[in-house]
Symmetry: C3
Subunit: 289 residues, 3 copies
Amino acid sequence: MNTLVLQTDFGLVDGAVSAMHGVAKQVCPRLEIFNLTHEIPQYDIWSASYRLIQTINYWPKGTVFVSVVDPGVGSQRRSVGIITKNGQVIITPDNGTLTHLINNDEIVEARIIDEVKSRLPHSQESHTFHGRDIYAYNGARLASNEISFKELGEEIPIDSLVSLEIENARIEDGILKGTIDILDIRFGSLWTNIPLSLVKELGISSGQYFYISIHHKNIRVYHNVLQFVRSFAQVDLGEPLVYVNSLTNLGVAINQDSFSKLYNIGYGSDWKIQLRKVDAEVLKQYGIK
Amino acid sequence: MNTLVLQTDFGLVDGAVSAMHGVAKQVCPRLEIFNLTHEIPQYDIWSASYRLIQTINYWPKGTVFVSVVDPGVGSQRRSVGIITKNGQVIITPDNGTLTHLINNDEIVEARIIDEVKSRLPHSQESHTFHGRDIYAYNGARLASNEISFKELGEEIPIDSLVSLEIENARIEDGILKGTIDILDIRFGSLWTNIPLSLVKELGISSGQYFYISIHHKNIRVYHNVLQFVRSFAQVDLGEPLVYVNSLTNLGVAINQDSFSKLYNIGYGSDWKIQLRKVDAEVLKQYGIK
Amino acid sequence: MNTLVLQTDFGLVDGAVSAMHGVAKQVCPRLEIFNLTHEIPQYDIWSASYRLIQTINYWPKGTVFVSVVDPGVGSQRRSVGIITKNGQVIITPDNGTLTHLINNDEIVEARIIDEVKSRLPHSQESHTFHGRDIYAYNGARLASNEISFKELGEEIPIDSLVSLEIENARIEDGILKGTIDILDIRFGSLWTNIPLSLVKELGISSGQYFYISIHHKNIRVYHNVLQFVRSFAQVDLGEPLVYVNSLTNLGVAINQDSFSKLYNIGYGSDWKIQLRKVDAEVLKQYGIK
């Protein structure tokens, strides 16, 4: 028996998520169910993809995740299940929700779910709530071992899975180049796709300074010299900083304020960030030290 | 041992729901507890009633639901428990929360809870949190089989239960007439009380068009010709549609936008909807096909 | 095996809480986890402290609570665990989150957690998410009995724990003087720190009237004569009232409206409230009876 973890863009204000919980409990009354989040912005497949890579490997091996951000429900988009290298299972519409996992080369097997045969009994007249009728139902059957992953459906090529456009971080001419992948929404921090390993490669360490610039669709919307620190409390209240976030990627934040709100910064492939080391001369220009 | 499912208008921002969880776990540490929703709009008994019929039959038989939208807490309104045809149990103030279940003739037995005898020990000086002291406490005792449904209290006539005003959908002179029962809040779709069976009786099938009009307190606030489709993705982004929702009633929506926000449409007995088939002549007037 | 209950200011919109759940389940797959609330206002240690005393004693003895409102994460502030008189366990940054428990003399033992040794394996490069790496991890080890409370770390003096400024309610010259400790946020009621016992000492009983005044930083922002009633429904819709809240302290509210929004009232040590009995003469001035 594995745990079932659900993610949607349905919110918790109505009965949709509870109907999914109920269906899963009907499949197996002893099944344990957790919510990843149900506050994915509506139709935001990119965020759904990010929240999966942010969390799945903190769960025990074999955990079954159901992710339903599904603007194409009822259309020809496929319903799929995948297994990751670490043995996690994900059930989702094949619409880009697996983008980050594909990009990280994490998927080892993919199967298609037959939406006609493998669905909640007596749900045929509903075509708009596959979260309940297809995904929670099949997720629960997998988590409770009522069916094996092979029994989910036909195997499909991993490279047939839909991926959104995604670009990896890199160093070019001594400049760290990356994307603002997502926001730490509640605290307003920017989470980049630049791993700590690239920072180390550039020879930057804690206490030193970065010159950073943020571009939206090639227009520079922010630039400044910021200190690279271990934690927020190392700068004064209201001061900006660069830090290593909880996925060990670079983050940009303000101590006890929202960077994204203050400077109106968003996330996704249109939002690029660059960082480079600064020398004593530049620091002097910025009045530092 | 059955599962306990809680619904309130308390929100999740403070400790109220957690106190209810704790009380239930004190009754029985092995009890499983789920949240239906705690975001019922404050004092909105109609919505509480709707969220129950939306969800309870997706749960295993014998599940115990506690619903607390209780503007009259501490007054003479009764605390009751009921059993449905399918064997679900509901504990709630008798204030209209059972309206849809009563209207659907779903209730087979009702009992009154003695608020003085059947309450959390040592809670006598609190008169404003029956969600914790009466409902979660007795719900947990029922779900854990500490007491039987009969032991909950005296039987009362089903027709003594409080019901809000409710009107059923019908066909009159070839026109489908119903109410906008509730909103799919997050996505802004209108959920009517018109079942698919009435649509079939009228001889409308997928792909055909409806002329629809929406009235608020007898004033027409929207009218248009919309296509009846199986799923949102069958119309263009931003286009309105009529569809069968997840309870197999008619819904009205916009693909990836909020119908209720765009046209300022609400829900409840003041919001009426009418639909009828349109002929080729009318379609031509609306520039369709 | 005890239950683990989590409280943070992280919100539920991203993956942070789910990562904490996952880490706890990795420690012990059978562990049960509940959310107290994750909607503590950001950085609001006072509210975190209040939500703990509001809820912990409604849970079974031995329940393990993790509270993470942690603006100083990564700084020198300590990570601690405590046991209460009732046998509840709390794991938290030592930043004032224990204020109300300390003030109520509830803590019987305190220990410091070694953030270097007692942390999620392989989490050393992250310095900003102790909720996951230190608190959920150690909370789960305690709840699942993987470690005993003694094994958590070195004992520290209870009086070394950080407390915010806090003042107790009292009677002075026949006047009840207290603080607005917190809001019942969703319903807008004011929850004072004045226990029912002081009201009884003053000889006020249900149905009588109080003259109340509210002061913010010593400026009077509200005053009126209100009836002391058992429950909201005893006054008309939209009328103010004084009542005994679910922690048997005095509350001030409006029946089906928000007192805090209508009069712009906040909470915390800057918000003082005074109440005194009124005689027939004053009632006449206010047009009562």
